[in-house]
Structures are given as C-alpha cells and as structure tokens.
C-alpha cells in the first residue's frame, strides 16, 4: 500500500464526448504491486470539497513503464473535478487497495459485465490471456455507442470471445446480459468474475447457482477511508450455516465469493 503523488501521462476522452468516458494514465509505483480487481483512492482536488478520496478500479497496469490506467465515467462532483486534471499534473494516490479477483490456473474464465462494470475486469482478462486460459466476456450495455466509448477496442485487442447485449438491440443480442447467458454454451469447468449493478450481479449469481463454477463478484459502495478503518462501506455476508456477518467492501473486497454475498440485504 502506497501513498504517492502520481504524474498524469495521459488523460483523454474515450469515444463519444457525450458518454462522459475518460481514460487516465498515471506514472505510479503502484504498478509494481497492483493485482486484478484492486483499486486506488484518488484525491481529485487539493481543496476540501469534495473532502474524501474517490475509489476508482485499476483498469490496466504496465509494470515496465510503471503506469496504471484508470477508466471512469463522469458522474458526480468528484469525477467532474478529476476530468479537469491535465497531463503533467500530479494526483495524490492511495493504493493498491482491497482484495482482488482470483486468477484461475487453468480452465475457462467467464467475465460478466454490466455497463462500466467491465473496467475492473480488464486486468483480470489480460492476466488470464497471458496464462493462456480460455477467456470469454459477456457484456451488457445501453447501446452501440456505449461500447464504442467504454473501451470495447481494448477487449477486442485481447483476441477473446466477446458477447454483447444492448437494451435497444443496436449491437449484439437485444436485452440484458442475462439474455446472453441464457443462450450461451458453457464449458464444464470454469470460473466466473462479475461486476456491474447489484441487481445484475445478484441475477448472475442466481444464474450460476446450478453450476459448480466459482463466481466472484466485485462490489461497489460509498467509501470513506478505503483501508478498512471506518466501516463506511460494508456489505452483508453469510456463511454456509447462514450466520450473517459484515464484510468491508474496501478491504475484505471489493471482490467477494458471490455465493457468500446476501444480495437483498436490507439490514
């Protein structure tokens, strides 16, 4: 875990400017330590508003160049301020943080993404491809424009099987990512990694319950410290005996075994 001022080496709009997607590359010693599924906490301004750091998943690592890539979508005050940062500026980074994905040793790896949930899956895919594993991405998005702005080309460069769905049918299957899964022929043994909205991940977990696949899910929650100290970003977990406990999304996660997550927790 490092705390450092990292220099911006690239910061650009991805695809359609209206989509609000950004690619940010930082020169960072974090590159030497980062594992797939981990994230950084980034200070978007030196001022007091917004006060807290912003958690952003690591979407790419170049150990030789000591660079990490973050992909993000403009949403609130924090990301809008971050978008103002220029090449050559420094941003204060805390990371790498959290418990990431398990990289399988063999077999097939299915990646299931909803919207910008694809971003943290990218380093996992790269790692798995490097190991010579069979990798398939099932990715649901709004429309064709979304995929063009959300880095589809980065996935295509990996040479893996890519299945997409769009709500308007402008690309791939019409429907959501479950409609892809329902029509897909799966290998006998495989591992699954999923990231997207909570309802989508809950449905994907449900879908794979009947298989022996280990499903890992990357959760999102409003974070405070990012290191497990403040208990702001918890999820509810359940062991095999049904005993409930809290998991810290920032430290125990963001990646959890999907079957342990209580998806409809309102307690």
């Amino acid at each position: 875990m490092l705390l450092e001022d990292a220099k911006i080496v690239a910061h650009e709009i991805m695809g359609d400017p209206e989509s609000g997607m950004r690619r940010l590359v930082l020169r960072s010693e974090i590159a030497a330590e980062a594992l797939p599924g981990q994230f950084v906490q980034l200070k978007v301004s030196t001022g007091l508003d917004p006060l807290l750091r912003r958690p952003i998943s690591i979407a790419g690592v170049d150990q030789d160049k000591k660079e990490i890539t973050l992909l993000y979508r403009l949403k609130g005050k924090g990301t809008k301020m971050l978008a103002q940062a220029k090449i050559g500026n420094v941003l204060n980074l805390l990371g790498p943080l959290g418990h990431g994905f398990t990289v399988p040793q063999n077999g097939t790896l299915y990646l299931v993404a909803g919207g910008i949930g694809a971003f943290p899956l990218l380093p996992l895919a790269q790692e798995a491809v490097k190991k010579g594993l069979e990798v398939c991405l099932c990715w649901g998005g709004e429309n064709q424009g979304f995929f063009e702005s959300a880095g589809l080309h980065l996935w295509q460069a990996l040479g893996i099987d890519i299945q997409v769905s769009t709500m308007d049918g402008s690309m791939g299957i019409r429907g959501n990512v479950l409609d892809i899964l329902n029509n897909y022929e799966f290998a006998k043994t495989a591992q699954v990694a999923v990231c997207g909205p909570m309802v989508m991940m809950a449905a994907v977990n449900e879908f794979f319950v009947k298989t022996d696949f280990v499903v890992e899910a990357s959760l999102e929650e409003r974070m405070g410290c990012g290191v497990g100290a403040c208990l702001g970003c918890v999820c509810t977990l359940q062991d095999e005996q049904g005993k409930l406990r809290r998991g810290k999304v920032c430290k125990d996660g963001p990646v959890f075994k999907a079957k342990e997550v209580v998806w409809n927790a309102a307690l």
């Binding site: 807290l52 929650e221 497990g228 100290a229 403040c230 208990l231 918890v234 809290r246």
Partner: protein
C-alpha cells in the same frame, strides 16, 4: 525525530492529561482508525501520541445498513451504528494485537444502560495494557446509543462515576455537541470523576438525495464530521476549558497543524484526528511536525505551554 532547521533548541512534545501521559499531543479518533492496524503500513504508529480504538459494546453489533456515508461540503455524515465485534471478541482477538502497538491505546466503550458500561469497564483495567478508556456517551447513530447519557447531565455523571468505580485506567468522557449547554455536560462529567474530557463527537445532521427524494443515509440521520464542524468544536473547547479544570482532548475537523494549534490555544491539551485520516493518512504526522515547528517559531519550549493561550492572561 527530525532536527529543526534552526537546531537552536528542541521542543518537549510530551503532554500530561491528568494520569495519562502521551509522547505527543496527537491522537487518532475512535471509529476512524479501526483497532490500529489498518493505517500502520502508511503512518508509523510509534510516531503517534495515541490511538483511540473503534468503539465496542458488550455484545457484537452488525451496525446500520448502507449507505452509511454521505459527503457534504467540507464534511462527512456517517451512520455506522456502532458495528463492532463485541467485548469478548475484542478481548480475545484484538486486544493481544492492540497491546503490541507502540503507542498509547485508548479503548472506547458504548452502552445502552449503565450496566453495559460497568460490564466493560470491569474488563478494561491497567493489566489489559490499555492506556485509558474513553466513554462514549454521545453516539448519535443508535437509538438510545449512549446519546441519552450524553444529553442529560445527571445521566452523564452517573455513567462516568460508574465506570470510574470499576476501572483503574484513566477515564475520558467523550461529549456530544448536540446539547444546549456543553459546559453543563462537561461539569457533570467532572462531577462523575472523569480524568479527561474529549470533544466533540459528531453533530447530528442529514442529507437528502433530491433525485430520489429520499434521505441519503439508510439511517436517515447521521453524525457530521470534517472541517465543516471545526468552528463549532473550537468554540466548545474554548467554553469547556474555561469552565472545567480537567484536561481536554479537542477534536472536530482537524486536517492540518494549523487546525490543531487552534484547538490547543482554545484550551485543549491534546487533539484527535478523525475524518482527516481519510483525506490524508499522513495527517497525524504532519500535524505533529507542524506543532513542533510552530513552537520553535514562537519560542515555546513545551507543547503543553500552548494550552489555553488564546484566553489565558499573560
């Protein structure tokens, strides 16, 4: 410790808060620093004056549902709801590690009735290796979560006296700012036998998501912390320090050494950093260094001499 640039003299950073001696006046606040392990890779624990541990209750608690956090201008609302492993698990799993921390470790206890506090105070004595007990009579996030003790002077006095009777550790009364008269509460804590007073806990507040037209926090209301509350905290330290003779740990929105010095001048003998750790995990170190440099610059040989300088007669 780094030598000062002038190297003409050094500053004595040690502070004595009644029976509690700290190597320097900078502590981390309860609920922001876990049980002392989380920030250790970033901020050297041996440089801290002390760590206040996450609040514990007699029984384990899952705490409140999420969202537990809401950011506000220069502030943070939280409603964690005293999630903690409970006294038993604390004693067996966490205390052995806490004892090894190379700094003063201060336990923080919360209860729902006087008996809860008594039960915990009995287990937390000098032989536990702790430096002090902070009694949270001010949690705003749990129904009857100590807040009752924190808003009624007679109850506050009663609970502090009960803890004091059960433990040989220094007792710190942590006060809530959500009262009409902070001085009345501080005087009650003093009557109960508190060795030290810490203030302020968070200010009760809320935030509404205008698109969803619902409160942001699952618990609706939460405690406000961060720089937004600092002027309120400084004012309360100022008032309490002049009204009550026992030492004060001041807190509320400290991010920099300048903020900390303000609290010392207002009458605090030590300061706590809470939300500031989330913004800059090195904040406690920077504050310690900054206070030392400030003392050198002002020809002050001991940090303890700063306490109350803003109102004391020369």
């Amino acid at each position: 410790m780094q030598p000062s640039k002038s190297a003409l003299k050094t500053v004595n950073t040690e502070v004595k808060l009644g029976p509690l001696t700290l190597r320097n006046p900078v502590i981390t606040a309860s609920g922001t620093y876990g049980f002392g392990e989380e920030y250790a890779p970033l901020c050297p624990v041996e440089r801290l004056g002390g760590i206040t541990l996450k609040g514990i209750t007699p029984e384990p608690r899952l705490g409140n549902p999420v969202p537990r956090l809401a950011e506000t201008p220069s502030g943070l609302l939280n409603s964690v709801g005293l999630e903690n492993p409970g006294l038993k698990e604390f004693m067996t799993t966490y205390l052995p590690k806490v004892r090894k921390l190379p700094t003063a470790a201060i336990a923080n206890i919360s209860g729902f009735c006087v008996e809860d506090y008594i039960h915990m105070a009995r287990s937390l004595r000098k032989e536990s290796g702790l430096a002090a007990i902070e009694v949270n009579i001010s949690c705003p996030n749990v129904k009857h979560g100590g807040m009752h003790f924190g808003t009624d002077p007679a109850s506050a006095e009663q609970v502090i006296a009960a803890v004091k009777a059960e433990t040989d550790l220094p007792v710190i009364a942590k006060l809530s700012p959500n009262v009409t008269s902070i001085v009345a509460m501080a005087q009650a804590a003093a009557r109960g036998g508190a060795d030290i007073i810490s203030l302020i806990n968070t200010l009760l507040g809320m935030s509404i998501d205008i698109e969803k037209q619902r409160p942001v926090l699952a618990n609706v209301m939460g405690g406000l912390s961060g720089p937004a509350v600092r002027p309120v905290a400084v004012r309360m330290v100022w008032e309490v320090a002049q009204a009550v003779g026992i030492p004060i740990i001041g807190m509320g929105g400290i991010l920099s050494w300048e903020d900390a010095v303000e609290f010392l001048l207002a009458g605090a003998s030590a300061v706590s950093i809470g939300t500031g750790n989330f913004v800059n995990p090195l904040a406690p170190l920077r504050v310690i260094e900054g206070i030392e440099e400030y003392c050198l610059r002002h020809g002050v040989s001991a940090v303890s001499e700063l306490t109350g300088l803003a109102w004391k007669e020369n």
